[in-house]
Structures are given as C-alpha cells and as structure tokens.
Amino acid sequence: MIGEGIRKGLRILPIVDKEVRQLLRDPKTILMVLLMPITVTILFGYGYGGKGAGEFPITVVDLDGRDGSFKFIQELKNSRMFRIKAIYKSKGEGFASVYSGKVYASLVIPKSFTEDLILGRPTRVELYYDASNPNTAQLVMQAVGVVTQKYQEWAAEKFGTFAIRPMFYTVYGPHVSKVENFTPTLMALILQMVPTSLISVSICRERERGTFEQFIMTPVTVIDVIFGKLAAYFIATISDAVLSLFTAMLLFDIKLRGSFLNMFIVSTVFLINSLSMGLLISVFSRNQLQAYQASVFIFIPAMLFSGMLIPVDILSREAQIIAALIPMYYFMTAFRNVALKGWDLWMVTDQLVKMNIFTAVFLLLSMRFLRMEVT
C-alpha cells in the first residue's frame, strides 16, 4: 500500500518536470508571465495617474491679482507639474473649465491673499478638482500641496507667515479613492488573466498535437494529470504574484499597509483558483482556440460583478447573488482588506475559505470529466 502510494507520488513528479520544461521553452509563457504583469501594471499606473503622467492641465482663478498671487502662479509654473491653461477672474469660469472636462482642476486664490500674507494672517488656496478621475485628482492634490509648501517657505521668509492651507473641493463624484485602491483590481486582473489563459490550453493542446495518445499509454491517472499540471503551472505563474506586487510598489510608490506575506498568501490562494478554473476549461474545450475564448469570456462577468468596476455593495440583489458565485469577488475583498487596511489573515478567513471551496469544486469537476481517451 505504502509502496503503491510512493509509486503514485513518483508519477506526478515526471509530469511536473515535463510541464515546467515545456512552459519554459514556450516563448508565449515568458511573454504572458513576465511581460503581461509589468505592462498591465504600468498601463494602469499611467492611465490612472502614476508618477510620470507629465503636466496636469489646470486653470487658475486669481481673485487677488497682486504680488502674492503672481508669485504663487509663478511657483505653480516652476513646479513643472502643471500646465496653466487659463487664468480667470471669477470662480464661475474656473468651475466651468473643470465641469467641461477641459482641465483636471481649478485653483482659486482668494481675494485677500496678498493682504493676509502681509498682515501675517493665516490664509488658504482652494482647489476644485474633478473626482471622476480619482487618481489624477489625487496627484493634482499632492502637487498643489507641494507647491503650497514651497510658496509657504518663500512667504515665511518675506512676510513671516506660516499658514497657507490648501483646501480641496470635489467638483463631482464621491469621495476620492487613492491610487492604492487600484492595486486589488490590478492584482485580480493579472492573477486571473495570465494563469487561466495559459493553463486553459494545456490539455486540449495535447489532444490537438496528438501527444495525449502516447501519454495515456502510461499508467498515469486523472489525479496525476490534474495535479501535475496544476503544480507546474503554479511554479510558472507564481512569479506573477510577486512581480505585479513589486512593480506596483516600485514604479508607483504604492504604499500598501498589509504585510507582504499576507498579500502574497491571499494572491496565491487566488492564483491556484484561477489555475483550477483554467484546467476545467481545458478539460471541456475541444481545441486551443475554444479554450482561449472561454478564458477570456469568463473574465467578463468577473470584471462586472467582482467589484472591479462597480462596488458590489451598490449592485442590485440579483447582481450580488452573481457576485457571490465569482471567486474574484472574494479575492478583491480579501486583498483590499489585507493590502489597504492592513488586516490580518484570520480576518479574511471567510474569503479565503470560499476561494478554496471554488478551487476544490473546479478540481473535482476537472477530474470527473477528464477522459483518458483520444477523440
């Protein structure tokens, strides 16, 4: 019995070995596993307001019109973070420029600005920003903060004032989310797309190429096939989890509150889930094209109902029921809590368990329906 067990175990190893070799030799793997996370992360980073987004177009409403405000505008220009499209004399014009979407924000310098400075009174600048583009708004706010800070240093020397407070007002949309808020989306995207589409062709490719006919002439079982492939693709794609996390952190200065280990564990659980789903697709697909299509198709409901685009809380009851059937929803929730709120792992046990239940179901179905036959 034990001997048989060992022999069984030994049959999985050659499969893992073979799959890993094949994966490493396939340029598609390198492309998907290495390039995709980096590319997607960078695209996201820039698209949603990364560091290097260049100058932000803004408008300025100068109600003061004296030395103090001229100097502030000069400082904005010097910062190279803003392109000042227009300087208005009324708040209404400033608002309009943001409403119309022409600029990201409009900065209002109040009427008594110079006077306040001279008299050493605390004063302020007001930023009206477009919250529909939350990450850009976030960066505009930061940039204004920096400029204000600099100006303050200059003003302090000259007038002895220390208090210029930037005030932020949303023009529309709810409260702004931070850049970091996109990390869960990013991770979900990468940890589902890459592993699922890679592994989804693994079995039907063997059928298409004819290699399955020789393969099933050996005493391999469905368990060997499913777990051998799962292990190999896990080894090949685990770098995705690390790579995406690092790219996000390094390139975009995203500061995640959670411990790296916790984020990694949550990502791993989801990665294995994606692989299992891909295997199930592979078991049911007739050819590679079909498998690819299925793995892309399955992504659509995941995107819609996992909270990636719209928070699940504000969806209809029916939609919430669908969300409950989508593993990515649990990942988004767990990862957000662990990464952004710094929760401990045990606090997301519920999501982890549910993801693993889905994984188990996918694997059991794969084993049940994998036919050790040629068609």
Binding site: R7, L10, R11, L13, P14, I15, D17, K18, R21, Q22, R25, D26, R209, G210, T211, F212, E213, Q214, F215, I216, M217, T218, P219, V220, E373, V374, T375
Partner: protein, 316 residues
Amino acid sequence: MTIASETVSLEFKETLAIEAKGLTKKFGNFIAVDHIDLEIKTGENFGLLGPNGAGKTTTIRMITGVIKPTEGIVRVFGIDVMRHRKRVLRLIGYMPQRFSLYEDLTVEENLRLYGRLQGLSGNLLEERISNSLDRFYLREFRSRLAGKLSGGTKQRLALAVALVHNPKLLILDEPTAGVDPPLRRMFWEHFRELNKEGKTILVTTHYMDEAENCDRLALMNRGKIIAMGTPKEIKRKAMGGDLIELSVDGEIVPENLPGVISVHEISDERIVLVVDDASLRLPDIVKAVESSGGKVRMAAPVHVSLEEAFIKFMGE
C-alpha cells in the same frame, strides 16, 4: 476470490496475446470497425493490412484502450482492456501512426519522461535510456528537440519510447511510414529480433514487401476483416489456389490434370493453372501430361506477390 478466477482465465488464454471478439466502433452512423474477431498468439508477428480508411488505426486504438469500443471485447494476455486497462498498459508498447512525442522536449527528455511514467527509476532508468540511445542510433541527437528531428529519426525515437519499459506486446501503427529503405530494413531486423526474444508484434503497413515478413496477416477493408492467414495462405485464397505455369507440346485437357481447380490463363504458348497445392501437384501434373503423350517443355510454380493478392481481394 476474484484473483483466483482471473488466474484461471489467464492460464486458459495464455497463448493469446490479443483476443478481440465482435469488436465494433461507430462514429455517429459511420461504422469504422464492424464486428471483427482477432486472435494473435504470443510471439507472433501479426500484420494488419488494408487500404486507407479500412479501420486499422481504429482497431489498434481499441486494443490499446485509447478509444472505447462501441461493442465487443478485447483482451490482452487475457486481461480485459476496458476493465483493467492499467494492468494492460505495462505489457504494451505502442507507437501511434502520428508522431505523438513532445516536440518541445529533447530526445533524451522524451525517453526519460516515458521511462519514469512507466515506473522506472535510478540505475535501471539510466541504463534503459543509455541502451535506447545506442540501439536506435540516437546518441548524437540526444539533446536535440524531438520536433527538430528528421522523419526517420522521429520514428526511431518513437520506437525507442515504445520499448523503454520492455513490454511483452508491441503495437506499431505504420512504423515505417516516411522511412527510407535502409532504415525500413533495420526496423524489420529489429522486429525479428524482438520476436526472437519472445515479444509479440502487431504491426500495420502499406508496404507489401514488409508484410511478407509477418507470420500472419489480416486484411481489412471497410471495417471488416476480409482475409486472414499466413502470407502464403492469403495468396492462395486470393487466387483460389496455387499457380502453376505449363508449356506443353501436344494436345492436353488442362481441366483433367490432377489437382487442378481452374485454368487461370491459356494461350498457344503457355497455360497457367490454379491447383490446390503447387509443390505437391507439380510432379503429378508433369507425369500426367507425359503419360497422355504430350511433352513438357516447362513447368514451374508461379510466384504471386502479396500485392496481387491484395488487389484481387479488394476487387471482389
């Protein structure tokens, strides 16, 4: 208790390497293999012949269990392939018609993978790999990707992989397709050696000169076996008997000669007779002609090629 009963059936069928009864495969409405019976003895070199689409590959796939028969049973060394496939697998070495090894693995990696999957390890595994590399002249290609090999080398590798676990039964689906004549000869020399080692071989081929080397043949057409036997028997069946060519001075009535079944061909110059057994009847016929006053200028058995027999059967 089941073990005991299986042992009995094993002993009972011991001499049969492959036994198929009423084996049938339908693809939708199309019957690819139609109730065939097959008995292949241990140690035999059995050839399966037939035109394209006859159902040879389908038959073989049912014997190896990579497809399920619609009807009928197959036993390999007495073991039911459908019910105990795992036990059968260790006994079979299979070379599919289409090259089925991993083209993105090297020659050695393919050998190693299949050795390990068949349960070999350690020294034994290394030894087998090394032997295979030498035996099939693959050593110089050991680090080459299988996909980058020439057709003949691919076939050598496929044969090496089929043999890596030292199976008792070899099932080879067109092993010499796309292989040059010297290598074809080498393959068949190998098969003969393997037969000598006591291994059973089931092989398909479209080359009739190769089929002559088989102990027994089955001729398939449209899913049915239309003839079975030794090459000699097959030829006899195709012509209705053996052929004897006669050249005679004087009048004779060919139908009255001993052992004559029919007259195959007749002209002023020569007569070709169909007899039940050429070697047995030839002296009798010469005697009969001479005793009736004729003079035999020439009398010889006519060699019938398997190809002629094959075409004759197909024509019917």
